[in-house]
């Protein structure tokens, strides 16, 4: 019964993730910790497996649309995977409250970036038509690599610490500071998540922090959800999806905060 519930949970987080360009991990870690009673470190390790699945499934679709900048992605991956491996190793030194507090803050920040990006997407709507799934990408040259690498290091560190993809950090930095078109930034961030999460997931796996019986049903659901979502993404208007996602994130953030407060008061 729990297994089926996990498949459904994975499916919806994969679908939402692919539709809005945000990894599913940001939803999965807190849901596993708060609603399935899994210790936060195992929740993080387990959600990393789902995060890799999302990345592999949806970036295979993005790659075929040629919206992924592999060279830029792999350069920044040097920083993300380094940061992720380091924090995955150090996560034992963070106590549960610090991790939950950091997570609540990150959820809040992610919700804000989603709303902000939606405004930008509307402006770009006219320049990116996609009747047959092909997109015209204006020529660009990525700028400010040191800044991009620095931000990637932070995104990777958070990924290894919280079991997330880190898209809400990488996408705005690539788009705003490195002059990469938004569609390329989103696809490239998604592409980078797989290697980043693998770097930290290996550390979690070795430590026994990946619960195989939870990860398998989640990954099965996430795979189906994110393939479906990635195919629907260019066609669907995501306003309602976006509000739904933001609502879930605010709820989880609040839930984590209440959980923390209860811990302090008790």
């Amino acid at each position: 019964m729990v297994t089926l519930l996990l498949v459904v949970l994975g499916f919806f987080s994969g679908l939402l993730g692919a539709l809005t360009g945000i990894g599913g991990g940001v939803l999965l870690t807190p849901i596993l910790a708060l609603h399935f009673g899994i210790p936060i470190r195992q929740a993080i390790g387990t959600s990393l497996v789902a995060v890799i699945t999302t990345s592999a499934a949806s970036s295979s679709v993005h790659l075929q649309r040629h919206t992924t900048d592999i060279r830029l992605g792999m350069t920044l991956e040097l920083a993300t995977s380094f940061g992720a491996a380091i924090t995955a190793y150090l996560v034992g030194y963070f106590n549960r409250n610090a991790l939950e507090g950091l997570f609540a803050g990150f959820l809040l920040y992610s919700a804000i970036t989603i709303v902000a990006r939606h405004g930008k997407l509307k402006l770009e709507d006219k320049s990116s038509p996609g009747p047959n799934g092909e997109f015209a990408i204006p020529p660009y040259e990525p700028k400010r690599y040191p800044l991009g690498l620095g931000a990637s290091l932070v995104a990777g560190a958070l990924s290894g610490l919280l079991g997330i993809g880190g898209g809400p950090i990488k996408v705005p930095v690539m788009y705003l500071f490195m002059d990469v078109p938004l569609m390329v930034a989103t696809a490239t961030s998604n592409f980078m998540v797989g290697v980043t999460a693998a770097a930290s997931a290996m550390v979690y796996y070795r430590r026994g922090d990946i619960l195989v019986e939870i990860a398998a049903p989640l990954a099965v659901g996430v795979f189906m959800g994110s393939l479906l979502g990635a195919r629907m993404a260019p066609r669907i208007h995501t306003r309602i999806v976006m509000y739904l996602l933001v609502a879930i994130m605010l709820y989880l953030s609040g839930h984590l905060a209440v959980h923390l407060l209860k811990g302090w008061l008790a």
């Binding site: 592999a56 992924t68 995977s81 390329v184």
Partner: protein, 99 residues
């Protein structure tokens, strides 16, 4: 731009990710079905295999990209891919013996 110039490269990398994700999906599905409907303890091992396949997929993707970059004589990115492989290997090695 690179993504327009080399559709072949994109296709090869996409293929690796697709094979990894699909094989992981079917292995894990087999594990789930086994666990739900068939008595026994083999399902955990099947699911574990699925998890390991998923962890290996990004590594294989880096190896393939590395090979393609060197074949295209794009040494800068070939070395970047090799550096990435070193980091990934260290991540795996550092975890050993940690409990």
């Amino acid at each position: 731009m690179s993504q327009v110039r080399e559709p072949e490269f994109d296709r090869a990398v996409a293929m690796v990710l697709r094979i990894g994700a699909f094989s992981c999906f079917f292995v894990m599905l087999a594990g789930l079905i086994d666990g739900l409907f068939i008595a026994g303890h083999i399902s955990r091992d099947i699911e574990r295999l699925g998890v390991l396949l998923m962890l290996a997929t990004p590594v294989v993707r880096v190896i393939v990209a590395c090979f393609l970059f060197f074949r295209e004589k794009d040494y800068k990115y070939g070395w970047i891919s090799l550096g990435l492989l070193v980091i990934l290997t260290l991540g795996g090695v550092f975890g050993i013996g940690e409990h």
